[in-house]
Subunit: 343 residues, 2 copies
């Protein structure tokens, strides 16, 4: 029988101590970590970047098909992604959790293993947090802190007319991963004896369950002396994000359908489900890639990087925000991204 | 009829924009606030202090008797209290919320009015956050950031044998405020026609619903060149906190019952409910006062401050942690503080 320790056996302070005892400080800027009223960090000579995200069971994740270790990893990644999107380096995180008595200490251990793996991979310290019971569902709130050389951070509002629009990696896979997991869940609920059929879908499922914040893109920028004119991460779908860049920079844009990077696995999965791969790439969320704009003269610096695609360019606001299809048609881009407040 | 706007009418980005549009930046260190992937702060030459707290409906607050404006105010205060407890000055906060469709935009407005009032009073900037739907209950996650002169922060683990143990303000009132609100709630649920009887209880109810983080104590320290040897805030009850100081400093302590600061209003309320005022002061939570230790030679510096009480002193660990009663008896101190994980 699986071991099960009740949270109440440890108590709140015991729990924090238990969960964080194996974390070793990696950053010199971490002066004081877990175990006091607050943590202390020293970014002397750097600017501090800070972001926070709430992940709620039943809204952002489904524990029926989300392993807790993956969930811990992803909770960190979605925040680190925001730090990288500022052209900054993440250094510390805090993690707060609200847990129902459905969750055992062993389950929480798995969750923290994922957090630990994410921290280790990205050189980040866990420096604090809060734990509480919740009346319903698993509640996760992560805050990430990073550092950036003064005034080298990249905003959303500073794209220029004529700039190239680029994205890292490929788009739409996480949405297709979600589609397949939701289908398998439905089949399982109708007939628990049927084993899930995820044959050949590991790429898209992995993109959903274990996204990776794009550290190497920021490192590539630094190495090649590239400073994007604007940047954000792709969490709600690229059409929604490109409209943010346009709105905040007071510009329009043209996106080429044929330039959208879509993996073979995603195309195959899309056709299997009767979905248009382009629509998945434009509107599917949770890719956690970076979208950024570059001066045209920087084009040569990125051509040899196969992980970056130029998908269009910025225009004057009056020209609108449009997508040019393979068939030669022009359509206005609409944000059909995931809206957490849809009625 | 009261106006009611649905959250869905604004959408996630509209909501953030709407809720934060009236916030003006107060700190020079706030380089970039709400509206991008992350905020940017510049504590050049200072160390950054960071803390986070989760407040969950049904666990930490009851909307039946908690006005949303007070709740917003309190959500900020409980975090600022942790920053002051490090001997630091709060400068920025992020606020994330998860809301069910039970909450209208007008209700959220009230909540943010309280947040705004707290920020204004303490000179703090709101620089970011996240919003989401929740399946059940109102979820609040606040992270506070502060600054401190390098290595001037005060930890819990650095008290010395013989140091005086001091607390600010008075103790137990918030717990008695909670007791009366729970009684009134019960009466109301049994008979909704009976009006709540809070006559003469405004002090203890105010201590529960609208606590105040002790900025002036930190300012007093600075003005009088006092650096406590250890410090934390009183959120779980002073007996629980004093045991933290002892454990983390590897010491014991003696606390004098007769020295515990208890307001007349609290004594009266305690007797009315048949409770021992001393027990309320020791074990009642949510006072958000500061408990700290001082070198004996600093005693003269605090005698003229009526808002600070010396309640005991630190001893060697072997002497244990004990309370000396008015009757001359000695009992071990036990942490009966509020445990969020009690079965």
């Amino acid at each position: 029988m699986e071991e099960r320790t009740e949270i109440a056996d440890l108590g709140e302070f015991g729990l924090i101590e238990y969960l964080t005892k194996n974390f070793e400080i990696q950053n010199a800027s971490t002066v004081l970590g877990v175990g006091d009223d607050a943590a202390v960090i020293d970014h002397f000579g750097k600017q501090t970047v800070i972001t926070t995200d709430l992940l709620l069971e039943g809204v952002h994740f489904d524990l029926m098909y989300t392993p807790l270790k993956h969930l811990g990893y992803k909770s960190v990644m979605v925040n680190l992604s925001d730090i990288y999107a500022m052209n900054a380096t993440p250094t510390q995180i805090t993690v707060s959790i609200g847990i129902s008595n459905r969750i055992s200490v062993e389950a929480l251990n798995e969750f923290y293993e994922g957090i630990y793996a994410a921290c280790e991979k990205h050189g980040v310290d866990l420096i604090g947090g809060d734990t509480s019971t919740s009346q319903k569902g698993f509640i996760i709130s992560v805050t990430a802190i990073g550092e950036v050389t003064p005034d080298k951070f990249v905003k959303r509002s500073t794209a220029q007319n004529g700039d190239l629009i680029c994205v890292s990696g490929d788009l739409g896979a996480a949405f297709l991963g979600l589609t397949i997991m939701e289908r398998e869940k439905k089949i399982y609920l109708e007939n628990p004896k049927i084993q899930p059929d995820l044959e050949g879908e590991s790429y898209i499922v992995g993109r959903l369950l274990k996204p990776e914040a794009r550290k190497e893109i920021i490192e590539f920028f630094e190495k090649n002396e590239i400073v994007p004119t604007s940047m954000m991460d792709v969490s709600d779908g690229v059409s929604s994000e490109v409209l943010h860049l346009c709105k905040q920079s007071n510009l329009g844009c043209r996106i080429y359908e044929e330039k959208l990077p879509i993996s073979d696995e995603s195309r195959r999965a899309a056709y299997k489900f009767g979905l248009d791969p382009t629509v998945c790439a434009l509107n599917g969320g949770e890719d956690y890639e970076l979208i950024f704009t570059l001066k045209q003269e920087d084009y040569d610096k990125i051509t040899f990087n196969e992980d970056i695609s130029v998908i269009g360019y910025m225009t004057e606001m009056e020209a609108g925000s449009k997508i040019l299809t393979k068939g030669g048609n022009e359509f206005p881009i609409t944000a059909q991204g995931w809206n957490a407040f849809t009625k």
